[in-house]
């Protein structure tokens, strides 16, 4: 019976989490009590066994590379953009207005793609990624009425792997647009739609390097972006559905 108060704290003792004074008192008790000593030893052995058994799963090299690439690309992009802007300033001074106009459009294009990537990640990181939650395109499309200055069609998804999660209104280059989120096999895909005239020209060339797969095209005066960590094939299939619906 004397040991019961000690035993209640035995786990905390073997975890080394008792206050210093209690720890010393417990040490003294364990040295003089064979029952508590055996119990403490058994629990330490159990801790070690769980530690060994718990280190059970190892990620594949391919998955490790994928994660490393996905998180390494972000700072590199910032660095490259900063370097490009500095280089741009120097070239502007030396070469003149024609060259500066060309580089300005290129920089603007990269900026747009970066902002699209940011909008995609920000939505997924948000506790409420969409403002209208529905798998029904006939609910999501009308929700945008009066919120954005254009209309667009959402594709029929029957017999496809895609499912609509919902939508929200976003801004790009200070112009309003629609942000739709789709799921395909646990991956989230963002489809963003803006008026072409509100964006920089020459967006048709895909970005050289982004941490995501992306496809963009212009149709009926609207600019579409499809972006995700899903495969390029999935993105292409969803893009084709949109092209067919528009």
């Amino acid at each position: 019976m004397v040991c019961e108060s000690w035993k209640a704290k035995l786990d905390t003792y073997v975890d080394g989490e008792l206050p210093e004074q209690e720890m010393r008192a417990f040490d003294a008790h364990v040295r003089s009590c064979p029952a508590c000593s055996a119990d403490a030893l058994a629990r330490v052995q159990m801790k070690r066994a769980i530690q060994v058994a718990g280190k059970r799963f190892t990620p594949s090299a391919e998955f490790r590379n994928r994660i490393q690439k996905s998180i390494a690309s972000k700072p590199q992009r910032r660095f490259r953009l900063g370097w490009m802007l500095a280089a741009l300033a120097a070239v502007v001074l030396v070469v003149g207005t024609l060259t500066s106009a060309y580089l300005g459009s290129r920089s603007g294009r990269d900026q747009v793609f970066s902002e699209i990537a940011d909008l995609h990640v920000a939505a997924l990181a948000s506790p409420s990624p969409v403002d209208v939650i529905s798998t029904d395109r006939h609910t999501v499309k009308p929700w945008f009425q009066g919120k954005i200055p254009f209309a667009f069609n959402l594709p029929e998804l029957q017999n496809s792997d895609f499912s609509l999660v919902g939508g929200r209104m976003v801004y790009l280059e200070q112009a309003p647009g629609a942000h739709l989120i789709y799921d395909v096999r646990k991956h989230h895909i963002s489809v963003l739609v803006f008026q072409e005239r509100s964006l920089p020209a020459s967006l048709d060339r895909s970005p050289k390097k982004l941490p995501f797969n992306m496809e963009t095209w212009s149709q009926g005066g609207l600019r579409y972006f499809v972006i995700s960590d899903a495969s390029a094939a999935d993105i292409d299939r969803l893009a084709k559905l949109f092209k067919a619906a528009s």
Partner: protein, 198 residues
Amino acid sequence: MFYHVGVSGVDLQPASFEELAIPLFDQLYNFAHWLTQNREEAEDLVQETYAKALKGFSSFQLGTNFRAWMYRILRNTFLTSRTGLKATMTVPLDPEEDGPELAVDHETPETLLFERSNRELLQSAIDELPVHFREILLLCEVEEMSYQEISETLSVPIGTVMSRLSRARKTLRDRLRRPQPQVGAATAAITKGTKHGL
């Protein structure tokens, strides 16, 4: 600006997200696999965790525990996933209060365990634990987190960490105490007895 945070304090070396997060990759994956019990879902969970953490890195507070922050993101992502919702909905949380564990039997689960030297037995018993017991046990024993770190990771008070950990261990010990499969015909019958519901 972020800095490498060492055991002895704060070094004045700026640390990138990659430098801080990549060393945690193996252990985060191991933890994710234990939670999801599925390789593909574990990969999706880790990938989503890294994407969210990278995006939110600017809001990470200097001087706070980066490891606990990463585990918290992973766990919260898991809890809102389909598998996580299913795991938490099908296993209701017990009250946190629990009486002290009393005297040790002559033949303890530990002695039985080590006599069998059976790591698979232990892994299987951990697998069968409810997710809130499984996660706290792994954070304490495998990740060797302090009670304070576990408290930050799970967003619960330290008192809850202590009581939940105690009940997790008790549940594990109870499961190990039950008869284990031996050989031949006896195996099926005994297995049926150990594969009880949660």
